[in-house]
């Protein structure tokens, strides 16, 4: 556990030293803020004190934001060869993956924590439903965990950050949109399967105010699958 935290700390320091964290957080806040408060069917359009608009927008900004954040996690280590130094230290492959995961997750937590003024503002304007806000954030965090899992996996298979980024977006797109489209186009058990795989169904069910373990399991299993595949992909160095 201590080893994981040492790795996480180093990773976080790297993010903040190299401005990546600042740029990412500012972009995230900028986009989310702009569409939440200023543009289109913004938060005032609803006519009630609810952060639903923001959650809907963050649902999309995080979708792009996370692959950009995770893309260098392992690909850069592989490209520079530093992974060899890391893994010959008393560290297991799993510890390295968890360290990377935790660092990325904490950046998302920080980014979301910085949107907390939205909550305060809305709470001052009208009667805000605290439970809905809490579950909305929980939904975003669970979704982020799933996408970080995917992002770390794609960055473990390529030495090229751009490839890792695009591949993560490609996989993410299935969960984000394509399974939903397929679900509405097919019937029977196939339709049911696609409907289950569709991430937006699970996200909406949480942000609507129902925290079902089924949804939590859905997000966590995507995350674990991603991390598990990353470990396998690291272990592949033994084969070729």
């Amino acid at each position: 556990m201590r080893t994981i935290w040492i790795l996480t700390k180093k990773e976080l320091r790297g993010y903040f030293d190299s401005l990546i964290a600042y740029v990412m957080i500012i972009l995230f806040l900028g986009f989310s803020g702009f569409f939440t408060w200023l543009y289109g069917s913004d938060i005032f359009f609803l006519g009630q004190a609810s952060l639903r608009t923001f959650f809907g927008i963050a649902y999309w900004t995080l979708f792009f934001f996370i692959p950009a954040l995770t893309m260098r996690s392992l690909s850069e280590e592989k490209r520079s060869g530093a992974i060899e130094l890391l893994l010959t230290k008393p560290i297991s492959d799993w510890q390295l993956i968890w360290g990377k995961f935790l660092a990325n997750f904490l950046i998302i937590v920080i980014a979301l924590a910085l949107t907390f003024p939205y909550v305060i503002t809305l709470a001052n304007i009208g009667n805000l439903d605290g439970g809905a806000v809490f579950l909305g954030y929980a939904g975003l965090l669970l979704m982020s965990a799933a996408y970080i899992g995917i992002g770390i996996f794609t960055s473990s298979i390529s030495q090229n950050q751009i490839v890792a980024f695009l591949f993560a977006l490609f996989i993410g797109l299935f969960f984000h949109v394509i399974f939903g489209v397929l679900a509405s186009a097919s019937t029977g058990w196939l339709g049911g399967l696609f409907n289950y795989l569709d991430l937006s169904v699970h996200f909406e069910s949480i942000s609507r105010g129902v925290l079902d373990t089924k949804d939590v399991i859905y997000f966590l299993s995507i995350m674990f699958t991603g991390l598990y595949l990353s470990v396998i992909s690291l272990a592949k160095r033994n084969l070729n």
């Binding site: 040492i6 130094l85 010959t88």
Partner: protein, 309 residues
């Protein structure tokens, strides 16, 4: 801690990078891996440090099997990989702190340890820079520092002196020799004088196999060395001397090294020395012997002999 390697094989596809290699390194010994590029030196080192798993065979470190007890054993190994990969945008001290933490050094000891190691590898003047701002030689020192920070009992160094200038090479060699007094050191190189200067024992690897194993002197005699002398004899006719030398019992072959100076290259017969015979001949004939140097077979020749086929 000693290292024992049994029948190590590593295959990439059908090609064996390391092919049934066995050797042993005793505690406190400095062993040099020598071999042409692509001979399997780096692969062997990667297996020894548990970065990659062997296809077959076992590695024992301090009599414990590497694969089973990797987490524990890795703490006793300091490793400098081939291309010295470092985090370019990290400051030296932060980086060493990170490595020290990973090596489970108690946090109150870390600042002292870093100060110590920075002095030891000669990074004191540069210590506040980022790694990316350093020249290659200084980066190499950072690489050594990270390998040494936890005072490991085993040091594995893959081409530790590449990219260094001659002064730095001398310094690093001195450091390694000093470390080798109490640690077990394996280093790889393709620079022959280097391995002769540092290592107690040499392992020559070619095409994944160990082709020679022993001290430098050992290897010379193994290679079936015959004595070659460079002789200069004055006050006599070159042709006459030539015939007389050739007539000696212990001499196999005489050649002119330089006809004008009366210098000859004399090869003795196998297992025999012709030094005394040449001297006696000169005394007999009243010639003046002004030079007689044994021409040692160089390690280079042995190396080429063993690795070119």
């Amino acid at each position: 801690m000693n290292i024992k390697v049994n029948n190590l094989t590593k295959k990439y596809g059908i090609q064996a990078a390391v092919d049934d290699v066995s050797f042993e390194v005793k505690t406190g010994e400095i062993v040099g891996f020598l071999g042409p590029n692509g001979a399997g030196k780096t692969t062997t080192m990667k297996i020894l440090t548990n970065f990659i798993a062997p296809t077959r065979g076992e590695v024992f470190i301090g009599d414990k099997p590497m694969v089973e007890e990797a987490e524990e054993l890795k703490r006793h190994i300091g490793y400098l990989p081939e291309n010295n990969p470092l985090y370019e945008d990290m400051p030296i001290i932060d980086y060493l702190e990170f490595v020290a933490e990973l090596q489970h050094i108690p946090s109150q000891e870390i600042p002292e340890r870093i100060k110590d190691i920075i002095r030891k590898v000669g990074l004191n003047d540069e210590k506040h820079k980022k790694i990316g701002e350093l020249s290659k030689g200084y980066k190499q020192r950072v690489g050594l520092a990270q390998a040494l920070i936890h005072d490991p009992e085993i040091l594995i160094l893959d081409e530790p002196t590449t990219g260094l200038d001659p002064n730095q090479i001398v310094e690093i060699r001195k450091l390694i020799r000093e470390l080798g007094k109490e640690k077990t050191v394996i280093l790889s190189t393709h620079i022959l004088p280097e391995v002769e200067a540092i290592a107690d024992r040499i392992l020559i690897i070619n095409k994944g196999k160990i082709v020679a194993n022993g001290t430098a002197e050992n290897l010379r005699s193994q290679a079936g060395e015959t004595e070659t002398l460079l002789v200069r004899i004055e006050d006599g006719d070159a042709n006459e001397i030539f015939t007389a030398l050739q007539g000696l019992d212990s001499v196999a072959l005489v050649d002119f090294a330089n006809r004008q100076n009366n210098r000859f290259e004399v090869k003795s017969k196998a297992q025999r020395s012709s030094k005394r015979d040449i001297f006696k001949l000169c005394v007999e004939r009243g010639w003046v012997l002004t030079e007689m140097t044994p021409n040692e077979q160089k390690l280079e020749d042995i190396f080429r002999q063993l690795t070119i086929n």
